[in-house]
Amino acid sequence: MSNQLLVLALLALPLAGFALTAAFGRLLMPRAWLIAVPAVILAWAVGMVLVYRTLSGQLGDGFAFTLYTWIPAGSFRVDVNFAVDNLTAALLIVVTTIGMLVHVYSIGYMAHDPGKWRFFAYLNFFMFSMLLLVLAGNYLLLFMAWELVGLSSYLLIGFWYQRRSAALAAKKAFLVNRVGDVGFSIGIWALWTTVGSLNFSDVFRVIPEKLAAGQLQPWMVTGIVLLLFCGAVGKSAQFPLHVWLPDAMEGPTPVSALIHAATMVNAGVYMVARSSPLFSLSSSAMVVVAAIGIFTALLAASIAFTQTDIKRVLAYSTLSQLGYMFAALGVGAYAAAIFHLMTHGFFKGLLFLDSGSVIHGVHDEQDMNRMGGLWRKMPITHATMLVGSLAIAGIPPLAGFFSKDEILGASFRNGFYVVWLIGVVVAGMTAFYMFRLMGKTFYGPSHVDPDVHPHEAPPSMTVPLILLAIPAALLGLAIGWPPEAGLVHRWLDPIFAPAEQTLGLHPEAFQVFGIDGVLVLVSVTLATAGLIVAVRLFGVRLPGRDVEPRPTIVEAGTARLRPLYVASYHKWWFDDVYHGLFFVIGGAVAQGAWWFDSHIIDGVVNGVGAVTTLAGRELRRIQTGRVQNYALGIALGLLVMAAGFLVATTR
């Protein structure tokens, strides 16, 4: 098959799956997955062929092709075009593989849901949108896919709409994303009018040229880049738009794994990485990206400390890890960011599916205070989740270790010491809260409702877990070894070379016995320390020996750090503040406009009425006549218009 056909097939398969499932899904019940899952498995196969062809270097720098001209209006020309290169391939690996596994997992997870045909339809639609996002060859197509993934995410979060919280969370996700998208779309429009094209290749060629020629001021480039970044902040849930992601956990767990951990939330990272030739033109914008990233990492980790909902802990850890990725992008370690994106996709997808398995096993209970001792009942889930936790904690030689340490090392070497310092601290915090989660869930005495009999999940769920655990454990070693020179660098360095050149970075070899080795030692030590503290407090089961949790020490500790605990528990009150800002004030503005619209004329009129009342007339009970109010409003508009025209045009 030709490469173009592969790309089109990759898009067409999930789209067809969506259309067929939406149209006939109800007839397929109870096996609603009969079309959707095979479609995605096929798409995975197609994707892998494409990935192999790209990464093996058969295609050189990749390939691009135009399907048709979307908007053929002179200087506003936009094509429907696709571009595949190594970066695309890296994303394709994550999206298709995890997508496929999550589809399979959902067969078991959603087995008893009466509306699952809709679920599979939406899930297929999401796959289509996400693949379109990754394959798009210009910003407008990317933006379209961007909005479509947002839409499918919205539908999936609100899938269990009977829960009011789910409907609210869906709405919140959509609307918060809208805020970021305003910036994103303005940025795209600014690009469009400056460049006259939105193709990645054109934009990356023209903007530096114009900047060098002085046709474009540096602040303009910074502005455009930051506007684009707004979109990434929304979609990847970075501070200050991070509030939607934890709430998005109201969706079914496979959705959380696929969309809100492994794929869609990476779209922002992908977009910034894709735009690296632009971002590298503005060092101030890079600093902003790094600052927001690392701050989010810290903020989210601090919140994850105290949450008791298992999925929320994972959600905040996702925020935190995405923060790492943005920090990496900001310090110029693009390849490291994508590397972390890949490893994180696998281990976080794994963790979420594990949590889904746990929730499933204890009959839809998400509160960790009502779990405990589950390792005996759910051995596969426990084992795979342990792998995932070790991976995210950055314990060598699991996947997370390699990617995270590349980020930290690069921040240090590129001179972002603060980023490094916070990053290392967050690494320790990550290990702590993950093993707090493990302890509360799997070890120690059981707090499970006595009526509930925890059980291991069916094979359709456990097999994906095992399949995901393998990359979560080994992916780092496979593509990240040797450090700074592994496969992932061979793939991605050519892509990011122009940006790194602009930034003046010179990749150096990794020094095991130099500064790099020390940095790794520091971060691993901190991570191990966090892990050990958590294990001592919340328990663990080691071969041959159980460590019992010590709730009294935990209570004493929280009592001593009461203000911090409360702040963390309440997520630093962001939701409350935003609620105030957006809903109360925004609502007030809207109400005000409404009031203005319907009462201002009355107000004028009533003022006049009051004067006449003073004159002794009894006017109080006279009803306001609407038509005359409208007429008076129009007449006043006419007067203003007449006066304005006279003043403005006849001087």
Partner: protein, 103 residues
């Protein structure tokens, strides 16, 4: 005075404003309709006045005025039909009592 375009235009402007006042002030739908007719008459007076004083416009002015008069007749027909229809529903010609839709 009768030979000055300004005089006729001012007269028509005054008529227009009287009509507008009636439209803004009256509560009765038919009275409002009559006010609109006054305004249309004012426009017609403007047109005919221009025609009388600008030779190039003379014949056209009469033609246009005739069209406007016919349109006014159509408008009156429609308006009175609607007034009668709503009177059947509400039993009052007072427009400001038609306020079931607001906000």
């Amino acid at each position: 005075m009768s030979h000055s375009l300004d005089a006729y235009l001012i007269l028509s402007a005054l008529l227009f404003c009287v009509g507008m006042f009636g439209f803004l002030a009256r509560r009765n739908a038919i009275a409002m309709l009559m006010s609109i007719e006054l305004m249309l008459n004012a426009v017609n007076l403007t047109i005919v006045a221009f025609g009388a004083f600008v030779p190039a416009l003379t014949v056209h002015a009469s033609a246009i005025a005739l069209m406007v008069i016919s349109v006014a007749a159509g408008e009156a027909t429609v308006g009175l039909a609607i007034v009668i229809a709503i009177f059947r529903n509400r039993r009052t010609p007072l427009v400001d009592e038609y306020d079931r839709m607001r906000e």
